[in-house]
């Protein structure tokens, strides 16, 4: 199934286009639709502009997440949804409006969509984006997490010189997602792109991988193999 799509509603055509470009760069397979400015190019939010984008994104089988910048952008988007719902009552179930920082939310949502997250997952990624991209590094996660059952562990030196940046983090999370195992990398949830990115790792760093659950061994092997390979050689 094609990934969840994104609609970026802004008062500014340039801002929406820029955010879409930035988010799209990390998520080449995700439909990211900018809906900025009025239909005649002024600052503001245009009903027709948003409506066109929502109609396109709403056709995505996996649904779409909608982000907006200032107050009336959200109001316009809500109004569009209300009007379109009159014609297609199923639309609200396929569209999720998320209150999130515009740029950070767009990037987080795009990365999550690229890694195969469903509508709820993409919405959560966007909503949780605020704390992950700030000037202050996030609070250090506990290196090890208490859990029930047998835990398998390994130490790995990160091969990619840039560490777990957006693309390798998304790829790793996508690989781990289908496995019936919990995986922590230096305490970060291996299936959360944002948590992995928030580790701010760099190449040559040693990280600890822990896994538990029925598919723990398989998950550990997969994660270790991935972390030992520079991102550009990932397939």
């Amino acid at each position: 199934m094609s990934p969840v799509a994104l609609v970026l509603v802004s008062h500014s055509r340039a801002l929406a286009a820029g955010a879409a470009e930035l988010a799209g760069q990390m998520a080449p397979d995700v439909l990211v639709l900018p809906a900025g400015g009025t239909s005649d190019g002024r600052l503001g939010t245009g009903f027709d502009v948003v409506e066109a984008a929502v109609l396109r994104a709403g056709a995505a089988p996996a649904g779409a997440v909608l982000l907006s910048d200032l107050g009336s952008a959200a109001m316009t988007a809500e109004t569009v949804l209300e009007m379109l719902s009159e014609r297609d009552a199923t639309l609200p179930s396929r569209l999720r409006m998320v209150d999130a920082p515009f740029v950070e939310g767009a990037v987080a949502a795009a990365v999550a969509a690229q890694s195969g997250a469903d509508l709820d997952g993409v919405a959560r990624a966007a909503a949780g984006a605020a704390g992950f991209f700030g000037a202050q590094p996030p609070a250090k996660l506990p290196r090890s997490t208490a859990c029930a059952g047998t835990v398998v562990r390994a130490l790995v030196v990160l091969a990619d010189p840039h560490g777990l940046h957006a693309r390798p983090a998304a790829a790793l999370a996508a690989r781990l997602a289908p496995l019936d195992a919990d995986v922590r990398i230096d305490g970060a949830d291996g299936r959360s792109v944002l948590e992995l990115m928030s580790l701010r790792t760099v190449g040559g760093h040693e990280v600890q991988v822990e896994a538990w659950g029925p598919a723990a061994e398989r998950a550990l092997t997969l994660a270790v193999a991935a972390l030992r390979t520079p991102a550009e050689r990932w397939t």
Partner: protein, 219 residues
């Protein structure tokens, strides 16, 4: 007397006229505490409504048809917050008035639907220096009038008076919603432009009803 589609058409035409007349005043009010585009946006919106009305090949059948045309036109032509807010108000009012004539009680239902739409869309409460401060006393006055058995025209007159009082009461308020809230305490001392335009719109509704009653148009 009751209100019919001709009243709705007259209301819209009167609104377009009064917004054009007060365009500069609304621009000035919005310049003081907002981004200065309220008068221009509404004027553009209602001018577009007139064009669409004139372009109709078949006359609208019901009050709701007219209000729906206003809703969709304002949504797509008014940038800024007023587009979705007034657009939602007219849309909800249209849904609540899909009948051929409105008596006093049905008029209250129309006004309540509009207020509910504005409150839901803007997430504003009374006292935050927004158009809600005009619409809330307008609906309260309309309800009181209808409870006393007033006809539709008197219900609208009461609503317009309520909106007038409510709009004036926004002047000393400190804005806590919308663009004006960025000004904090400095927003006090200015009439809220959205409350003022709401008052003008409701006065136009009352004037159209009074004219219809005077001419004995609607039975």
């Amino acid at each position: 007397m009751t209100l019919d589609v001709n009243w709705a058409l007259d209301w819209v035409r009167r609104t377009a006229q009064v917004i054009a007349e007060h365009r500069d005043e609304l621009v000035e009010l919005d310049r003081q505490i907002g981004d200065g585009d309220h008068g221009e946006n509404l004027h553009r919106g209602f001018t577009a409504v007139l064009h669409r009305l004139d372009a109709l090949t078949e006359p609208p059948a019901q009050v709701g048809d007219v209000l729906r045309l206003v809703a969709t036109t304002l949504m797509s032509t008014v940038g800024g917050a007023a587009g979705p807010l007034f657009g939602t108000a007219y849309l909800r009012a249209a849904r609540a008035s899909a009948v051929s004539t409105l008596d006093g009680t049905a008029t209250v239902v129309l006004l309540e639907a509009a207020l509910d739409g504005i409150v839901q869309r803007g997430k504003a409460a009374p006292g935050e220096k927004t158009m809600v401060d005009a619409w809330t006393p307008a609906v309260e006055a309309a309800v009181a009038a209808a409870d006393n058995g007033a006809p539709a025209s008197a219900v609208l007159a009461a609503a317009a008076d309520g909106a007038r009082a409510g709009a004036l009461a926004t002047t000393p308020m400190v804005a806590t919603k919308g663009r004006a809230s960025y000004l904090g305490e400095r927003s006090a001392g200015h009439l809220d432009p959205g409350a003022r335009s709401s008052e003008l719109i409701l006065r136009a509704a009352a004037d159209a009803a009074e004219a219809a009653a005077a001419h004995g148009v609607a039975p």
